[in-house]
């Protein structure tokens, strides 16, 4: 390997008519109740960075999983270097030179840098043992080539920063001669300086003729580093081309413009006095100076990019994350929730985003899940009354139109949509004043979505107040009375949902001047 200076000016201009190194065509992938990808195509060219752009749920992660051999597409073709391939396993993808660098890079913290680079293909001695000397020398050579000579090949990976871990991941890709590098939100956890270093590295990979797929939510990064773009929306490819010919607003339009896939419930908002007031709420690292009010009978939408601090803020209001400053008051009374139990007691409940990890207790029947935060209410003199538990579960799951054979059914055997109904029922059973829903319809089928939306409308009509954190624009625009947009841990703007359009929200969330 020879040394190449990773300078932007050395890079050849993208040849317009080069053959793609990787081409997907007509790829579709469905999961029960969810169509993740429909007839999508994508081309990656050698020496070029293609940005994959789309909202959450547009199908980006499914595509990455297909390219890395984790999912098998239902139909469609993939070719690498003009040859059709079948990426039936992660190993197969690896053999075809496809490698992915994730937000949380998959490396081994307790192995050395050299071991991480050569794991699985370490040089051997005559006796079949690992040739440490050659391995170290090769590792140093690869790192030097990448202008990452500052990384000690013998250092334990645990002791490196995230940016250097990315470098090691790239070094690993170089050592296996990967031709296609997928970077999935690589800058999410990096500082500004580290991002600059990553960009130098990407320039280097381009100069080496690698085809790069760059997935990011951040428009400034995309326009800075990428040559081409491909836009996904709701599992379909809706546009592609050279970034030089595109504008930010044109791409935002492609991302959000869509046919309405389901009708949101008609509501007559009857908004009353403020119920929840948050002022100057701050966290050491996640959010700062958050102030807003939630009124009786209101649905307040929270929109923002992933990592804008919305979930962390909600967890703080729910007492699970500690705050450094600021105040919360409920019905005019100051509230200092120290645990979820405090918040539930006060009348605030939180339906978490990760249904599987934070929401349902799989292995327990539906009725036990539904009564979990209400055990004191369903027991008498410390003894649980099963009839009360069943009544409570029946009352609240019934309102949500839960589809299950019986309330004794293990919640783990339900579909995602029905699990979500159980989780929401569980919180309603505590008779809250404020219900916070974090991505309430993420990954659930259309029918369940409509049920959840219809139910939210009923709740506010009954005088509850709802905070809805969502990254789905139609949901934000279709359900909210007002929309709070967060960006990088701050409130960027609060809009009345009158004549509000999707572009405004995306531009505010991404920090693009309109």
């Amino acid at each position: 390997m020879h040394t190449t200076a990773p300078k932007a000016e050395l890079k050849a201009p993208p040849p317009a008519n080069a053959a793609p190194l990787l081409a997907l065509s007509g790829v579709s992938k469905s999961f029960p109740g969810v169509r993740a990808l429909h007839n999508v195509s994508l081309s990656l060219y050698p020496g070029q960075v293609t940005a994959l752009i789309g909202e959450n749920g547009a199908g980006k992660s499914t595509l990455v999983k297909i390219l890395t051999g984790i999912y098998q597409p239902d139909s469609g073709e993939i070719s690498v270097g003009g040859e059709p391939v079948h990426l039936t396993s992660a190993h197969k993808a690896f053999e075809h030179g496809i490698t992915a660098i994730h937000q949380e890079t998959v490396l081994f913290d307790d192995l050395s840098v050299a071991e991480n680079i050569f794991l699985g293909h370490a040089p051997r001695t005559r006796f079949g043992t690992i040739d440490w000397k050659t391995m170290r020398a090769n590792a140093r050579e690869v790192l030097d080539t990448m202008h990452a000579g500052h990384i000690d090949a013998d250092a334990r990976l645990r002791d490196l920063g995230i940016a250097n871990k990315h470098l090691v991941a790239v070094a690993r890709a170089m050592s296996i001669d990967a031709r296609i590098v997928i970077m999935d939100e690589p800058t999410a956890a990096l500082s500004a300086k580290e991002i600059e270093e990553l960009f130098l590295l990407i320039e280097f990979l381009k100069s080496e003729g690698k085809a790069i797929l760059f997935i990011s939510h951040k428009f400034d990064e995309i326009f800075r580093i990428a040559d081409r773009y491909t836009v996904f929306r709701d599992g379909e490819m809706v546009g592609e081309g050279l970034l030089a010919d595109a504008t930010q607003s044109a791409i935002v339009k492609m991302m959000v413009g869509r046919a309405v896939d389901h009708i949101f419930p008609e509501r007559e908002p009857n908004i009353g006095a403020p119920v929840l007031a948050v002022s100057d709420l701050s966290h050491p690292t996640e959010f700062d100076g958050i102030s807003f009010e939630l009124h009786k009978g209101e649905i307040l939408g929270f929109y923002g990019l992933v990592g804008a601090g919305r979930s962390e803020l909600m967890q703080a209001i729910f007492g699970i994350t500690r705050t450094s400053r600021g105040a919360i008051s409920l019905d005019g009374k100051a509230l200092h929730p120290k645990s979820a139990a405090d918040a539930i007691e006060a009348g605030i409940v939180y339906v978490p985003e990760e249904r599987g990890r934070q929401g349902v207790v799989t292995g327990m029947p539906i009725f036990k899940n539904a009564s979990l935060p209400s055990l004191q209410r369903t027991s008498k003199s410390g003894v649980l009354r099963l009839k009360e538990e069943f009544d409570l579960a029946r009352r609240y799951t019934g309102r949500l139109d839960l589809r299950a054979s019986s309330l004794s059914q293990d919640v783990g055997t339900l579909s995602g949509g029905n699990q979500q109904k159980v989780v929401i029922a569980k919180w309603l059973a505590t008779r809250p004043k404020v219900i916070i829903l974090d991505e309430p319809t993420k990954g659930i089928d259309i029918g369940s979505k409509a049920a959840v939306h219809g139910f939210m409308a009923e709740l506010v009509a009954e005088g509850l107040s709802v905070i809805m954190v969502s990254s789905e624009l139609p949901e934000i625009l279709g359900m909210s009375d007002r929309v709070v947009v967060m960006r990088e841990g701050h409130i960027a703007a609060i809009y009345d949902n009158k004549n509000l359009d999707a572009e405004t929200l995306v531009q505010t969330a991404a920090g693009i001047a309109a």
Binding site: Q358, G359, V360, G382, L384, G412, K426
Partner: protein, 325 residues
């Protein structure tokens, strides 16, 4: 999953019945009701201990210090009895429960407040409690002639045809059944074992619940301390040495998942009975001690294998959901 758990207990009942039938072919007297009652009585202490261990294991923890707690508490009440022979027995039993509770709460506090893994905490306290037993007794034994007749004879008294020891075990089983299936505490113990994160969101204090589980296991270890020294009529530093492994084995055979959240009172009782039968029946039909150990060991591995199967299937269900999300 529930039918699977039921299935596991049914399987245990079948295995126990088969074991009894097998022994009965060689020694018909074994299957007589009177003899089975004796086996139950002999296994009572193990059953009580296994139930306490179950409460801890369900919370994704383990209590290795139960046998050491038993030895310390047993020594303490035996010395108390020999020093003050007039002290009424109920007071001694209450102090056994209290001493056990204090030792258990030390485990619980370390796990809760310092967030140290329970296996490390109880490995440490195991040694400390044994050492404390030595310090307390100065290495001396408390023998039968130093114990009061009431102290020794209480558990042997017959009540409605069964020894008091058996009745105590039945009482403990009933209490555990009530707590585990019919109280908010029992529900919380299962919930934090299956999904600690979701439990936090549901307002359950995971650390405090673990603390309470350790208090429970400590209390039953204390009770067993009295039962043990009065049954074998000796209190020494060596009492129940290594018995923590039998307790855990009973739980594992009974289908209580070491990963937490899965297991039942019936399982713990049946697991203990299975071990008890092997230990009492096989010598009767001249099976060598080596084979006894081999059979107990195989039962443990078989039980873990069956549990692992069950859990793996459950994992597959979760994955399918994760894909759709």
């Amino acid at each position: 999953m529930k039918s699977l758990a039921k299935h596991r207990e049914v399987w245990l009942v079948v295995a126990i019945a088969a074991l009894i039938a097998l022994v009965a072919t060689r020694f018909p007297g074994f299957a007589r009701l009177g003899n089975l009652a004796t086996v139950f009585n002999d296994t009572s202490i193990l059953m009580i201990l296994a139930l306490g261990q179950m409460a801890v294991i369900l919370t994704r923890s383990i209590d290795l210090s139960m046998a050491a707690n038993l030895a310390f508490t047993g020594m303490a009440v035996a010395m108390l009895n020999s020093a003050v022979p007039d002290l009424p027995l109920p007071l001694l039993i209450v102090s056994a429960l209290a001493i056990g509770l204090v030792l258990g709460s030390i485990n619980g506090l370390l796990v809760w407040k310092l967030d140290i893994p329970s296996i490390v905490v109880t490995l440490g306290t195991l040694t400390i409690y044994r050492g404390a037993t030595f310090v307390l007794s100065g290495g001396a034994w408390v023998n039968a002639d130093q114990m009061s007749p009431a102290f020794i004879n209480f558990q042997r008294a017959s009540l409605l045809g069964l020894p008091v020891l058996s009745w105590i075990a039945i009482l403990v089983i009933a209490a555990f059944w009530l707590v585990m299936t019919r109280t908010p505490l029992g529900r919380s113990i299962y919930a934090i074992g299956v999904n600690p994160t979701a439990s936090v969101y549901a307002g359950i204090d995971v650390g405090r619940t673990k603390f309470v589980a350790f208090c429970i296991s400590g209390m039953v270890a204390g009770l067993s301390g009295y039962l043990w020294v009065s049954r074998y009529v000796i209190a020494s530093v060596e009492v129940a040495n290594g018995y923590e492994l039998s307790i855990i084995a009973a739980c594992v055979i009974g289908g209580i998942s070491i990963a937490g959240g899965i297991g039942s009172v019936a399982g713990a009782v049946l697991g203990a009975l299975f071990l008890g039968i092997i230990q009492s029946a096989l010598p009767v039909i001249n099976v060598s001690p080596f084979w006894q150990m081999a059979i107990s060991g195989s039962a443990i591995i078989l039980a873990v294998l069956l549990n692992a199967r069950g859990e793996r299937e459950q994992g597959r269900i979760i994955l399918k959901k994760a894909e759709a999300a």
